[in-house]
Symmetry: C2
């Protein structure tokens, strides 16, 4: 019975995700579903990305949060369109939420929408929102055991950003073993090491975006 209901919820979500994907394709907008733990640095990465690429890519951001608009306020300062979704405690974004948010954006004027999901390494990976690719931010302060412990999100993501690399030496994070585990889980995953504090490695992320969008 529970399984049946879950299937229906996912079935309905996937239908709307496909509609979103079709609409984004028609409008020639590339969509990235950006996921990661609370505090992994998703919003900081977005702020850096907008500041550096907004002359090259016409960007908008859809911000998913439980209650506040704190992240949307950070993005708004960079003068790109931003739509806040509050999930009212819900642990992930779903396709209907992104559909409603996209209705408030002028899709004809955009190249790229980045959807910043709720901070959560589990649930967001299970819900297609109609994106072209998923991306996951893992901060090295979270520990190198996270890929094997939370495999789905890394399996689903085209790119893994290993963030906060500037404080690597103050942690016991083993880069080599994390890279190995990521590649075991997802042989084609692109791995980029970054620091949003020192800007180290961000050029590789920008290059990836410019080549992919």
């Amino acid at each position: 019975m529970k399984v049946e209901v879950m299937k229906n919820i996912l079935g309905e979500n996937d239908k709307i995700a496909e509609e979103n994907r079709k609409l984004f394709k028609e409008k020639k907008v590339f969509v990235i579903n950006l996921m990661g733990s609370p505090g992994s640095g998703k919003t900081s990465l977005l702020e850096r990305t907008i500041a550096n690429l907004k002359d090259k890519l016409k960007m908008a951001v859809i911000e998913g949060d439980l209650f506040t608009a704190k992240d949307a306020e950070r993005i708004e300062r960079h003068n790109v369109p931003v739509i806040q979704i509050n999930t009212a405690g819900g642990c992930h974004l779903d396709a209907p939420m992104v559909k409603r948010a996209a209705e408030s954006l002028d899709l004809d004027a955009l190249d790229l929408i980045i959807v910043e999901n709720v901070g959560n390494l589990v649930c967001p990976a299970e819900f297609d929102v109609g994106e072209n690719i998923k991306a996951v931010v893992l901060s090295i302060t979270e520990g190198d055991d996270k890929p094997l412990k939370y495999p789905l999100i890394f399996k689903e993501s085209a790119v893994a950003i290993l963030n906060k690399i500037d404080i690597l030496k103050f942690t016991n994070f083993n880069l080599e073993s994390a890279r190995e585990d990521l590649t075991t889980i997802h042989p084609d995953i692109k791995i980029i090491e970054t620091s949003c504090t020192t800007a180290e490695g961000l050029d590789k992320w920008y290059e990836f975006l410019l080549n992919t969008v």
Copy 2:
């Protein structure tokens, strides 16, 4: 319809949580539901706690993980009983899972069970597992905006452990503002700053446990 189903699931969970709570009380075992983001330091805190208090408190650990037994293996080295629950991708522990795990423990021989929940700042807070208190670990590398962004888990927790305090100076975490927000969300919350690397502040956590259990 969706709401109805959710109510039934929670209703069933709460019933079993109460049964767990009654059993734990009969057996005079105190139970802590330990929550926090992936990589906040829950397992490290447990390792330190067991090493320091196992002569004073008879402890066992119930480990919740999506798939692996990595955390349980870390705990096992400290020679306390540990039961691994694998949620098979599920984002939180529920009362039936803890009930089954507790059946494998000799409750008469225990003072304290610490249940380490799945690394997730959202979903675990919604599910009573029959614990006496909830505790949340927030690592300062996650950012000082987390209490306001994920309020439920801090509202539900009797104690908030601000972990990784040894690398505070390498972050922009504002301790004062985090404390203020925590107290706004939950006026009675106990806040303890710790480092599981340098052991700073852990004495306060041990003291809290010895006074509470």
